[in-house]
């Protein structure tokens, strides 16, 4: 009995800490931190305006009341914005990934408090915040680094799990707020009427199609754990996810940007043939869990975009 428990613990541990090339974390850093620049400057420029809103309108979120974050003023918002942009820029170029990475996480959290303490809270950033929290736990790395790392494996696994959990818990929230009968309601029709693009106009006459859509959405969210399956099922599911977000964007103009960015954690980014020379594997035997395979040199993918997996070195890689 004891031995069996030991085995299952080992299995849990080796699943969470499956070593992956450090290069993937290097590329993820570039993507995640560069997105902050886009988020602050392009997607949500209104956040900065909240500093000019009278303090009475500031109703800090729970974490804002527990942690000593100040009431936003134009100066505070300006300093946070400037600091966040500098840290994110440094992060995108992978400078001081631990210290600046941690600082970026704190500043982005404060930025979210500034954004969401005036009425509406967005629900598309669980995975992104997880990414910001875990990336600083991985040592410095460059894009071509093929050494396997358990720390990198854990960080990427956390982002993947956060993406999966986001979908699954969204279905649970529908159950809580909308009830089992949510799928038979007119929620998508409401979205189409309120924010539909010209592509969604024909759907105004097709409530039945929209109801089918509601069934498919819940099915998709409940089965999100399949994203973690390696091989064909995981790849197909990732494709579903991308199509789902693309259709939502085309029809309703809604894109859960930070969440979609985190889907990249399911891709073997280190194998993408951008800016790479012939890659060398620096094997890190100590990082290998007992009984795992010897590290395999991933095929050189110079000059072409390959999104493939290469044995044990690519958990969840597509």
């Amino acid at each position: 009995m004891k031995a069996r428990r030991g085995t299952s613990l080992q299995r849990i541990s080796s699943w969470w800490f499956l070593p992956i090339p450090l290069g993937r974390v290097a590329r993820l850093r570039t993507i995640i931190y560069a997105f902050i620049l886009v988020d602050v400057l392009v997607l949500r420029p209104w956040v900065a305006d909240n500093g000019s809103v009278p303090g009475d309108f500031y109703h800090p979120l729970f974490i804002g009341r527990v942690l000593p974050f100040p009431t936003p003023t134009p100066t505070i918002v300006g300093v946070v914005k400037f600091g966040l942009l500098i840290c994110a820029l440094a992060g995108a170029f992978r400078r001081s990934p631990r210290l600046l990475g941690f600082l970026t996480f704190v500043l982005y959290l404060e930025w979210m408090l500034i954004a969401f303490s005036y009425g509406k809270v967005d629900h598309d950033r669980v995975a992104f915040l997880v990414a910001l929290a875990v990336l600083p736990t991985v040592p410095r790395a460059v894009a071509r680094d093929r050494s396997l790392s358990e720390a990198a494996g854990w960080a990427v696994r956390c982002i993947q799990v956060a993406v999966v959990v986001t979908y699954f818990l969204a279905a649970m929230a529908k159950l809580r707020f909308g009830g089992v009968d949510w799928v038979n309601g007119a929620t998508l029709m409401r979205a189409v009427l309120r924010r539909g693009t010209f592509l969604a106009d024909p759907l105004r006459e097709q409530p039945f199609l929209l109801q089918i859509g509601q069934y498919l959405i819940v099915l998709f969210e409940l089965s999100s754990v399949l994203l973690l399956r390696r091989g064909r099922i995981g790849r197909i599911y990732l494709l579903f996810a991308v199509v789902f977000h693309a259709v939502t964007f085309a029809a309703l103009g809604i894109l859960f940007w930070p969440h979609v960015i985190c889907l990249s954690a399911f891709v073997a980014l280190e194998e993408l043939g951008i800016g790479g020379r012939k890659k060398h594997l620096v094997s890190n035997e100590r990082a290998q869990p007992k009984g795992s395979h010897k590290p395999v040199l991933a095929p050189s993918t110079h000059g072409r975009l390959t999104v493939g997996s290469s044995g044990p070195a690519s958990p969840g890689a597509r």
Binding site: W46, T166, L169, A170, A173, F177, A186, R190, L210
Partner: protein, 142 residues
Amino acid sequence: MTARGKIARLSVAALTLLALLLGTIVGQDDHFPFGPLRMFSIKNELDGRVRSLEIEGVTESGEVLLVSFEEFGLRRADVEGQLGKLEEAPEDVVEALRRAAERFTPGGPTFVRLRLFERIFVLDNGTPVDQQIETLAVWRSP
């Protein structure tokens, strides 16, 4: 990685998952980032109504334009969240509209009148069959 490092990481992951689960079951938006992921989770009745908040502006030349909230630097959901205030303090909402008008994209049209209204779609078995307009607040340039 040391065993201690692994235990610490696994514990943090487990606690985070637990917080997210709790947030989904009993939490509110206030518990961000652990609150329930409630986007589109409210069920609309097939024979209900759909309300859509909109702004309409009249320019100096008398042209009537539908303005998006983003163009005003506002978010529709934020304004909708504050509609409750309309009954207590309609002047606050009108004031917010006036400020929004001031901030309107430089070089864009100057508005002499702004109207905040709700477009109400009446649904019959899921299909919109009628539209009504309900004016909530109006601002006129002095």
